[in-house]
């Protein structure tokens, strides 16, 4: 038990670069596997959190643009959604990484801003920024499609009632359309976030390199599976962590769902159902 506490001290924050430098190579214990894979999960949560945080806002804008009667707005929005939903996330990672690598070489303003700007373009090739950007764009497209589907079925009567009350367009959207859109799309959006969480496991398997062996949960799981030649321990541990994360998402989004539905009669409430069409 004491040994395990020591391991947790050594490797608990290894994925962030703290603690013991060398990863365990021989006589790998169960405790070491659980600790390191768990420490890697921080990255999966980080990727998911920031992609969802920015993706939620962007997806609302894209959905509104796609539903707009003006072709100038709806066409680009539809294309954005089509490109990111129609191609594999895995390829998007590779493509974006190669683009990011090319950036400093073709950057014109690179020398004008000196060191500061140079450093910034370099960050894009790191998983913590580049990975989040790709996941952000990807989840924006998927969520926008969900929100767009909900926008189309917001009851016409609601909007008319809002107009009758003298609300202007912004007020109507803010107070009537947007809450209804969220309520209708929330079960699908929960699925989307779950699958985004799962997809965050892909970051370190695409081009984004790990630095000083600081990776996500799947990076450590595959490291252990490779070094011990035994997939039966590391992968189930990683799977267990992902199940716990999924349950947390279901719980948190369930709370939000309750709030969105709080004014409705019991049978009208929308509930969470597993829908794999939001898987990438």
């Amino acid at each position: 038990m004491n040994e395990c506490l020591q391991t947790i001290q050594d490797y608990g924050l290894r994925s962030l670069g703290f603690g013991e430098r060398l990863l365990p190579k021989t006589d790998i214990t169960l405790c070491e596997q659980v600790t390191l894979i768990g420490s890697g999960l921080v990255w999966n949560i980080y990727f998911t959190f920031f992609a969802v945080l920015f993706g939620f806002a962007a997806a609302t804008l894209i959905a509104v643009a796609k539903a707009s009667p003006s072709g100038l707005l709806s066409k680009p929005a539809s294309w954005f959604v089509f490109v990111f939903r129609g191609s594999p996330l895995f390829i998007q990672f590779f493509f974006a990484y190669e683009l990011f690598v090319m950036l400093p070489k073709v950057g014109v303003s690179f020398e004008l801003f000196g060191i500061e700007f140079g450093a910034q373009t370099q960050w894009l090739t790191k998983a913590w920024l580049g990975g989040v950007i790709v996941l952000f764009l990807n989840t924006t497209a998927y969520s926008a499609e969900i929100f767009y589907g909900a926008l189309k079925v917001v009851p016409k009567g609601d909007i008319e009632a809002a107009k009758a009350y003298g609300m202007n367009k912004v007020q109507t959207f803010r107070r009537v359309v947007w809450p209804t859109m969220l309520r209708l799309s929330w079960p699908s959006y929960t699925n989307e976030v779950i699958f985004l969480f799962h997809a965050s496991a892909l970051v370190y398997f695409s081009s984004f390199p790990t630095w000083q062996q600081s990776g996500d949960a799947m990076y450590y799981a595959s490291y252990f599976a490779k070094t011990t030649f035994n997939p039966f321990i590391a992968y189930p541990i990683a799977g267990g962590y992902f199940i716990m994360g999924t349950l947390c998402i279901v719980f948190l989004f369930g709370l939000a769902n309750k709030r969105l539905n709080s004014h409705l009669a019991l049978e009208a409430k929308s509930t969470f159902r597993f829908a794999p069409q939001w898987l990438r």
Binding site: K25, T26, D27, I28, F82, V83, R85, G86, S87, P88, L89, F90, I91, Q92, F94, F95, E98, L99, V101, M102, I194, H198, A199, A201, L202, F205, M218, A221, S222, A225, T227, T228, F229, N230, P231, F232, Y235, A238, G239, F242, I243, T246, L247, F274, P276, Q277, L279, R280
Partner: protein
């Protein structure tokens, strides 16, 4: 025409460059992707059907197994299955062969950081040709894909079976059909209409999951895009800077075209299936 690449220029250079032996292998690797799709789709459908039946079975352990199978993909990323299943199956097969082929070896199979079976139990055998290794890897990948997508299909088919109106089944029973007859003659034929939107989505997901073949060590389109796009110095016949971004852009276009064509196809199919049904468009 492509005798001496260094003398070629412009368009002709490009034509010759795009028809090198390695590029032909790259084009052939698209067939690997299509082959995987063709092999996995019916396998996954069969596994999904079995999973859905198991979940609705009257035998409790079988029902548990079905529930476990359909639920596992909800919480665990598909990537874990793609990485886990091929190695796990490979070790399982080798372990069984080890027990049968060399019973005289009593050493443990897991020795420290090694997995040791006797030479005769290796899969494929150590002296096998390269293509045997490739085919073996491909079959393993197909099984992994079939397991994951079978679980998704099981969810869809189970949901579709539930969606068949209860009144239809009651009518069937009223006509004196047995449970078995009701299932095969009424519930199952009706189920397909409900399952089609879900299954067409699964096809899209399957298409978009094919690049993960790369992670299983198969020389697929991602492998060749990385290989061909990388920086080529003057020592190569066709030197060029890092072109990987262009190769991956080409792969993006390939996938976008595939999903676009599939989407159009499924919209047509859905219309056909729903002809004559009340509330047809699901």
């Amino acid at each position: 025409m492509c005798g001496d690449p260094s003398t070629l220029e412009g368009f002709q250079w490009l034509i010759c460059y795009l028809s090198t032996g390695k590029h032909q292998k790259f084009y052939m690797s698209f067939l690997v992707v299509i082959g995987l799709l063709i092999a996995v789709a019916p396998l996954a459908l069969a596994m999904g059907f079995g999973g859905a039946l198991a979940k609705r079975s009257k035998i409790l352990p079988l029902r548990w197994l079905g529930s476990l199978y359909t639920n596992m993909v909800r919480g665990i990323p598909d990537l874990i299955f793609f990485l886990f299943v091929p190695i796990a199956l490979d070790q399982l097969f080798e372990m069984i062969r080890h027990k049968i082929k060399c019973p005289e070896v009593t050493d443990p199979i897991y020795q420290g950081n090694d997995f040791v079976v006797c030479a005769a139990a290796k899969l494929p055998l150590g002296n096998a040709d390269a293509w045997v290794h490739n085919v073996y890897g491909f079959v393993m990948a197909c099984i992994a894909f079939a397991i994951v997508f079978g679980a998704f299909a099981a969810n869809t088919i189970d949901g579709a079976l539930r969606a068949v109106p209860e009144k239809q089944l009651e009518t069937a029973r009223a006509y004196g059909m047995t449970e078995r007859q009701t299932f095969w003659r009424v519930q199952l034929p009706q189920m397909w209409g409900y399952a089609l939107p879900g299954l067409s989505n699964l096809w899209m997901i399957l298409v978009k999951a094919t690049p993960l073949l790369f992670l299983l060590g198969i020389e697929d389109i991602v492998y060749w895009a990385k290989e061909l796009g990388g920086f080529k110095s003057d020592r190569f016949d066709y030197p060029h800077p890092d072109w990987r971004a262009y190769y991956f852009a080409a792969l993006m276009v390939f996938y976008l075209l595939t999903t676009w064509v599939s989407e159009k196809f499924f919209i047509r199919l859905n219309q056909r299936v729903n002809v004559g049904r009340v509330g047809g468009e699901l």
